[in-house]
C-alpha cells in the first residue's frame, strides 16, 4: 500500500494539462499509489480561500483523495473562518503551509501561530522547507505544544540538515521529494533518522511520482522501512481509515 502525503490538485503554470482529480488518479494509478493528500495549487500559489474551496468541491466524491487545508500564516483569521466551514466535511485531514508563497519564515512568530492553529484543529501540517529553514522549523515545532509537522522536500539542496532538524523535535517528520536529487541522499538520511519519521510524498501533480519512488528504490529500503515510509507512518499520523485500500 502507498500513501502519498504531498500531492496537489489543480492546474500548474509549468504544464498545460487540466489539473482535475482524474489527472491525479491517472498518475496515482500509474505508480500504484492508493491514497493521496492534496492541497490546491490555487490555494498554494494564488488564494488559499478560493483554492481550499475548490479542493473541497473536487474531492468530495473521490475517497482516494483527501485534502490538505492551505494556511497563509499572514491571515490566520481567514483560515480560522474557513476551517469552521470545511473541517466538518471530513474532507481535510491535514494542513499545508508554503513558506515561500506566504513569505513566512519557519522561525517567525507568525509561523508559530499558524502551527498553533493546526494543533488546535487537530491537523498535522506539511510545511515546505528549502535550505536552512528546515532547522528553524524543528525549533518552532518543538516550541508549539501538540503540533505535528512534516518538513517537505528535506530542505531541497540542504538535505544534509534533515537529521539535525529532526533531532530538534520528536514531532517533526520528513518528506523526501526533490526533483534534482543527488544520488545516495535518502540512504544517507535514513542511516541517521528513525524510519518512523519519514513519509512518502511525491509533489504530484507538479512532479511525477517516479522521481521520489525511484529515489526511495535506490535507497534499498528494508521491508520495515518500506512499510513505515510508504504507508504506515502516514496512516497513523493522519489517522487515515485505510481498511478499504489495504486488501
Amino acid at each position: 500500500m502507498i500513501i502519498d502525503v504531498h500531492g496537489h490538485l489543480g492546474p500548474w503554470f509549468f504544464s498545460p494539462y487540466g489539473g482535475t482529480a482524474s489527472d491525479n488518479l491517472r498518475i496515482m494509478d500509474a505508480y500504484g499509489i492508493d491514497i493521496q493528500l492534496v492541497s490546491g495549487s490555487e490555494a498554494v500559489t494564488y488564494d488559499p480561500t478560493t483554492g481550499n474551496a475548490a479542493v473541497a468541491r473536487e474531492i468530495g466524491d473521490q475517497p482516494r483523495l483527501r485534502g490538505l487545508f492551505v494556511i497563509d500564516p499572514r491571515n490566520l483569521a481567514a483560515a480560522e473562518k474557513q476551517l469552521t466551514e470545511l473541517l466538518p466535511t471530513g474532507l481535510f485531514v491535514g494542513a499545508k503551509i508554503h513558506t515561500h508563497y506566504s513569505a513566512t519564515p519557519t522561525g517567525s512568530p507568525a509561523m508559530a501561530d499558524a502551527l498553533r492553529l493546526c494543533a488546535q484543529a487537530g491537523l498535522p501540517v506539511l510545511v515546505h522547507t528549502w535550505g536552512r529553514e528546515i532547522l528553524d522549523l524543528g525549533t518552532t515545532v518543538d516550541s508549539v505544544d501538540g503540533v505535528h509537522a512534516i518538513a517537505a522536500h528535506l530542505a531541497g539542496p540542504d538535505w544534509r540538515l534533515a537529521p539535525e532538524a529532526a533531532s530538534r523535535s520528536d514531532r517533526l517528520w520528513l518528506e523526501p521529494n526533490y526533483s534534482v536529487a543527488e544520488s545516495g541522499r535518502l540512504r544517507w538520511v535514513l542511516d541517521r533518522v528513525d524510519p518512523r519519521r519519514m513519509l512518502f510524498g511525491s509533489d504530484s501533480t507538479l512532479t511525477d511520482p517516479g522521481v521520489t519512488l525511484g529515489a526511495l528504490h535506490a535507497a534499498r529500503l528494508s521491508q520495515e522501512e518500506e512499510r513505515l515510509i510508504m504507508s504506515e507512518n502516514a496512516a497513523q499520523l493522519f489517522a487515515l481509515d485505510v481498511g478499504a485500500f489495504d486488501a
Binding site: 498545460p16 544520488s183 511525477d208 525511484g214
Partner: protein, 235 residues
C-alpha cells in the same frame, strides 16, 4: 537497450566524492543501462587534455562513447581541445559553464560552440536552459541540453521549434507528461535518455521511463537511437 547520454567519471569537489569507471560500470549494469556517453570531471574541472584522455580510455574499456570536455575558464585551451577532439574522431563535446562558474552568456561560449559545430561535433550542454541556451542559437548546432528542468519545458519547446538540432536529456524531465510533451510537440527524435548515473538518482529516471507513454519505435529512439545518431554510431 538503454544508453545514458550523461555519464561522468572523476571527482566532484562540491559533492566531495568520486565515481570511477569501474564503479560506474557496476552501477549501470545493476540499473539495466547498457552504456552511454562518458565525460571526465577532471577535464571539466581541472585539466582538459588529461581528463579527456581518461574518458577515452574508460570508454574504450567499457564500450562507452567518449565525450571530450572543455574548461570554459580557459577559452584558448578549450579551442585546442575542440580541434584535438575533431582530429581524433570524437563526436561528442561537453560544455559545463555553470559548473565552471562561467556566465552562460559569455561571448567565448558562442564562439567555441560555433567552432565545435563547424567540425560536426554534437554538444552536450550543462546548465539551466534559460541561462545557457542563447549561446547555441542560430549556429545550426546539434545540442543536447543535459539540465533542462521540466519547469522550463515550454520555453524549450519554443526554442527547439526554431532549432532543429536542439534536444533535451530526460534527467530533469520529472514532470507528469513532460516526456510526452517533448515527443508530442517536437518528436521522439528530440528526447535523449540521460540520468547522470552515480551523481543523480538514475532510478528516478528509470521509473519515469517505466510509465512513459511511448510507442515501441519512439522508446527505441529515446533510449538509444537518438544518442547513437548524434554520436555517429554506424555512420
Amino acid at each position: 537497450m538503454i544508453l545514458d547520454c550523461d555519464l561522468l567519471i572523476g571527482r566532484d569537489i562540491v559533492y566531495g566524492r568520486s565515481v570511477g569507471a569501474e564503479e560506474l560500470d557496476a552501477r549501470l549494469t545493476e540499473a539495466g543501462i547498457a552504456g552511454g556517453a562518458v565525460a571526465s570531471l577532471r577535464a571539466l574541472l581541472f585539466d582538459a587534455p588529461s581528463g579527456n584522455d581518461e574518458a577515452r580510455v574508460a570508454a574504450a574499456a567499457h564500450g562507452w562513447l567518449p565525450v571530450a570536455g572543455v574548461d570554459l575558464r580557459d577559452a584558448l585551451g578549450a579551442e585546442r581541445e575542440i580541434e584535438r577532439a575533431a582530429e581524433i574522431g570524437i563526436r561528442l563535446m561537453r560544455f559545463a559553464s555553470t559548473r565552471e562558474g562561467v556566465a552562460g552568456g559569455a561571448p567565448r561560449i558562442r564562439l567555441l560552440a560555433r567552432a565545435a559545430a563547424e567540425r560536426g561535433l554534437t554538444l552536450l550542454v550543462e546548465g539551466s536552459v534559460p541561462e545557457v541556451a542563447g549561446a547555441f542559437m542560430d549556429l545550426g548546432a546539434s545540442v543536447v541540453f543535459l539540465d533542462l528542468h521540466f519547469y522550463d519545458l515550454g520555453e524549450f519547446v519554443l526554442l527547439a521549434r526554431q532549432e532543429p538540432g536542439f534536444h533535451t536529456s530526460t534527467r530533469l524531465m520529472g514532470g507528469p507528461d513532460a516526456w510526452e510533451t517533448v515527443v508530442g510537440e517536437l518528436g521522439a527524435e528530440r528526447l535523449v535518455f540521460g540520468t547522470r548515473a552515480g551523481w543523480f538518482e538514475e532510478e528516478s529516471v528509470l521509473y519515469r521511463l517505466g510509465t512513459a507513454r511511448l510507442s515501441v519505435t519512439d522508446r527505441q529512439l529515446v533510449t538509444a537511437g537518438n544518442l547513437e545518431r548524434l554520436a555517429g554510431v554506424g555512420a
